[in-house]
Symmetry: C2
Subunit: 621 residues, 2 copies
């Protein structure tokens, strides 16, 4: 890979989750009073306060997507552009008689070389849309040239090719379930009122040739009687397998009728007077991050400028957020390239229960459901601090028409009370040194509510050049119903696939593996990857009172295979991406260190179907 | 260890540091204007603003240490108490003729059972002081009973027993160096003006029987000509070995005269008009965490109450901060015990260079220098946000008299713009759910400036019961001078023990291992430790389309040896501390999960002297 012109690699950041039940404490309880003093910057209730900020008074940033042309070559398709693509497709065979279902319709990004060379005022590189459309059992991959108004490329896949599930696909699966006689009989036999039914259409994983080329979902249901938190009330053992493409129920598994539906008691998490947390309120006084002169970033369309950083930020239906062309300014004003593109590439969640109703749970939350598609509007002041700027997502729905996902991303400056750098001298040295600089960073945030879980993605930029990616996990557990109410009634606790977290409720063991695609362009595209291994060296006899010391040995990857890294705790390495052609005054190449964090290994069999599909978790880098 | 009545264990949190030089960016640069608007809550200049807060108006919290008696059995010795101990020792043989050097003089804490049983208003358990004193080559371990005014216990160590180095000890080492003829000759021969000399007295590690029972320091010097940052200007190869106890120079190593002293250019980090960072200022607008009703914690002496937490916090000369009796309040108002005692127990920093002037660098920053002894006053508004409460340290100096270390710890509420918990439902489910709670935490912070490095210790408390310990590393690198100015002049880069970070400056490879002592008392002292191993299980043929899944297998430690854990990335475990006698309504014991973070392994030979001394890094838990 040395001297290659494109270095892309994947970092697996994993969260190994295992549930350990102890006393439950209420979540944060800092409600403000009902009158809204100017200081009351947090509330648990949804607020309609739109912070009036510099963004509203200046350029109408939020309206750029109504324009015919975007502001930057990487900007997502605007509303008129999406409409134009739809109109081109409507007139194009084979879609002119029946309009297909649109699984994905988004910008086909221009080549890197065109984007990097582009400057404001230059003519735009060709605007192209990449469309995945499903019609009559076939998937069409279509490229539309917006300038020429023509389809310029068209590939047909036999079988579905597993495009992302659209909301229409999911709604179809639910409709087929609700209208199925056998399903309804089972629900009534279980004593559930049909009005209390909440069903979800999770994907079915992939379990070998039988499911090849098909899009299967496995509908499972819950009772939402007396609670908005239906996830805690699973109707265990009832699984309706639906072929989305053929629009048919293909199998019903109906076991576990003896397992009671867990009770609704104490499951309501909403912040109302009924909440068990309400009377503990308030535990703390109001508090907020204040910026009397406003935040110091500016946003023009999708270009974010802050301190010494500039980057392009856009919502994406699959990846959620994409950061492009991140550059940092050095002393003489020059912007130096750091990263061409970075985004979450996949989120793999295998559950660890071999049961009929659980074995298939091995979700690919980005590829199957879309992190952007499930990124609901952020709650102002609670999800993001005051002075945040909110960016909307503009996507195409299944019928090819534009939809706006409002307030999908927030951008804010963070001062967390932390220290950026400090040094004091002890009095012995005779120097009165008390230097300290507070730390302020810029954060771009999104929260994807993929079913029961809410993933909070933060990209944080520091003035010293560091980029930090954080993923937070919130929401509720996906739980399994069980006959047991107390662990002392369980005859063989070894059979348990999780922990009893409430009466009749098991939190099943599972993992969350998150991988990121980072296309680093440090001072240009000519980047190399080096593994710097820390190796014990023995001293020679008589050389030193020390017997051993550690040396850093650098190995530059020659192929992509060389850069597949399995981390080893007792044979540690660092990972450097550097530009061999940009040399500092000391002769060192410029570069970044990649620091994987929260690392974990998948323990599944390499030939287990979920692991074959999630094979990117075989290595951590 | 099951059903033991005291469970203490140590978590090793390690920071493996290896230096990779790329372009240097300025630290945070958010200076406020010279006039000080009420909003300007950050400045790079030292500020004398003492925040006028609720603490100044109410009870005179900061004066409790002038009182004859403390407020709580765990409170540090007050100023009158230290004076009383000194006066008792003055009248006690063998100290009545010559007062010894006091290495340590602090509270001998009462037994846990007495402390736990004590309530406000109860008579105090006996107040005792534990003293380590050095006189005529012998170390005396003395216990003084303050009530009776008597020495109640006295053990004499032949040889020093390695007590902590006092400031007087360190000053003696420097004095011996400065007055040594051979040293002065070498300095002049190297062309250094004696007025530009800055010397530090680092400890010498321990390298076998020759150094047994002695306290040795190895003085090394720097030039502070044209810079306050003398650390960047080492006088390489000159090491003066001093026997602190005998007050004698025992060896001078004088090599490396051909190695130039690195230049001062661009090493001044102070925030002045001369600073290279000054003209980039300001990169961002002023920003602060504001609390119009003030913070919601109260501090009475050393008792901190916040939200549902209460704990005892005190400065300690060795550990820096000690958190005791941390308890959390549950819904019915009852406080439940979580942790009896927690503190940083050691900080081991082995450098990886076998050279004469470097091999011995294997510092124990807590045990040798004292994290508290080196915790200088925090810089208000820069080190800690507005509305912080500052706690002073009261210690005994080498002459046994009390000294106040002002503003040594700060306590503040943190709102970092983060989300405590959230959940949204996608529109498909037909529920308009947008729940989100902001996250507010309480932080106790201290920064220990141990020579060139500043360690920032944060203990963070969350309302959901979580306690997070964070350690930040700041300050400057300890660097080595080299003849090389550019890596292209280095004949054999394999000989390098670090990276060239500036002309004539090498950043030497080293580790920072930090261990914590956590005496967990979850719902009382009857706690057990369990390792929960995640194990791959294979499914039986025909049982499931899955081939493998992961199960959690719990093993309760029977002895302390069982609880010595070497972490394994591919054989992962969780660590639970639980109370088998306090059972939830589900039958589960109450407990906490211990999550080691930033883990690393020491790669040194097990029989290498630094590793023998730092053997606590052999295991991570």
């Amino acid at each position: 890979m040395e001297k290659s012109y494109c270095l892309k690699f994947i970092i697996i950041i994993s969260i190994a989750v295992f549930i350990f039940a102890y006393s439950r404490y209420p979540p944060e309880n800092l409600g403000c009073s009902t009158s809204t003093p100017p200081w009351c910057t947090k509330t648990h209730r949804k607020t309609n306060l739109r912070s009036t900020s510099i963004f509203d008074s200046g350029k109408p940033n939020s309206n750029h997507y109504f324009a015919d042309t975007p502001l930057h070559p990487l900007d997502p398709l605007t509303i008129p552009e999406i409409n134009k693509v739809r109109s081109i497709l409507t007139g194009y065979e084979p879609f002119s008689s029946t309009f297909p279902s649109i699984n994905s319709l988004s910008l086909d990004e221009p080549e890197k070389i065109q984007v990097v060379g582009w400057k404001t005022g230059d003519p735009f590189p060709l605007r192209r849309a990449s469309v995945i459309a499903f019609l009559n059992g076939q998937t069409h991959l279509v490229t539309v040239d917006l300038g020429m108004g023509l389809v310029t490329d068209h590939v047909v896949n036999t079988g579905s090719g597993y495009p992302m599930l659209t909301n229409d696909d999911l709604a179809t699966a639910l409709q087929l379930t609700y209208s199925n006689l056998e399903f309804n009989k089972s629900i009534l036999a279980r004593g559930v009122d049909l009005n209390d039914l909440a069903c979800i259409p999770p994907s079915s994983g992939w379990f070998g040739p039988d499911e090849e080329g098909k899009r299967i979902v496995k509908v499972q249901c819950f009772s939402n009687q007396d609670t908005p938190n239906f996830y805690m009330r699973p109707i265990e053992g009832l699984t309706i397998t639906v072929d989305i493409d053929k629009k048919k129920v293909i199998k019903i598994t109906d076991t576990g009728r003896g397992i009671p539906i867990p009770k609704a008691t104490h499951t309501d998490y909403t912040y109302t007077t009924k909440s068990p947390f309400y009377d503990m309120d308030p535990m703390t006084n109001p508090m907020s991050m204040e910026q009397p002169k406003g935040p110091s970033f500016t946003i023009n369309g999708h270009i974010v400028k802050w301190a010494n950083w500039v980057f392009h930020l856009k919502p994406d239906i699959r990846a959620g957020m994409i950061i492009s062309q991140a550059m940092i300014q050095v002393k003489d004003g020059e912007y130096r390239s750091v990263m061409y593109k970075g985004f979450a590439s996949e989120l793999f969640v295998p559950y660890m229960d071999p049961d009929q109703s659980w074995y298939f749970k091995s979700y690919m939350d980005a590829g199957e459901f879309g992190l952007g598609a499930n990124a609901m509007a952020l709650v102002e002041l609670n999800d993001c601090p005051r002075y945040s700027y909110y960016m909307d997502g503009v996507f195409a729905s299944a019928n090819g028409r534009p939809i706006i996902q409002p307030n999908m991303i927030c951008i804010f400056e963070r001062y967390a009370g932390d220290i950026g750098w400090r040094h004091s001298e002890i009095p012995l040295m005779g120097l009165d040194i008390r230097e300290s600089r507070p730390k302020v960073t810029l954060v771009a945030r999104m929260a994807a509510s993929v079913g029961n879980y809410d993933y909070i993605f933060d990209w944080e930029f520091q003035t010293d050049g560091l980029i930090r990616i954080k993923v937070g996990l919130s929401g509720m557990l996906m739980v399994k119903a069980t006959p047991y109410e107390n662990i002392h009634n369980i005859s063989n606790t070894n059979d348990m696939t999780g922990t009893l977290v409430s009466e009749n409720v098991i939190g099943v063991v599972h993992d969350h593996f998150i991988s990121f695609h980072l296309d680093m362009d440090i001072d240009g595209a000519n980047n190399s990857f080096a593994e710097v291994n820390l190796v014990k060296e023995e001293t020679l006899s008589g050389q030193s009172p020390r017997k051993s010391y550690i040396k850093a040995k650098r190995k530059i990857a020659k192929t992509e295979d060389d850069a597949k890294i399995k981390l080893k705790l007792y044979d540690p390495s660092e990972f450097h991406v550097f530009n061999p052609s940009r040399i500092s005054r000391l002769g060192n190449p410029t570069g970044y260190k990649i620091v994987p964090s929260g690392i974990a290994a998948s323990l599944l069999d390499l030939d287990d179907p979920p692991q074959i599909r999630g094979a990117f978790t075989n290595n951590q880098v």
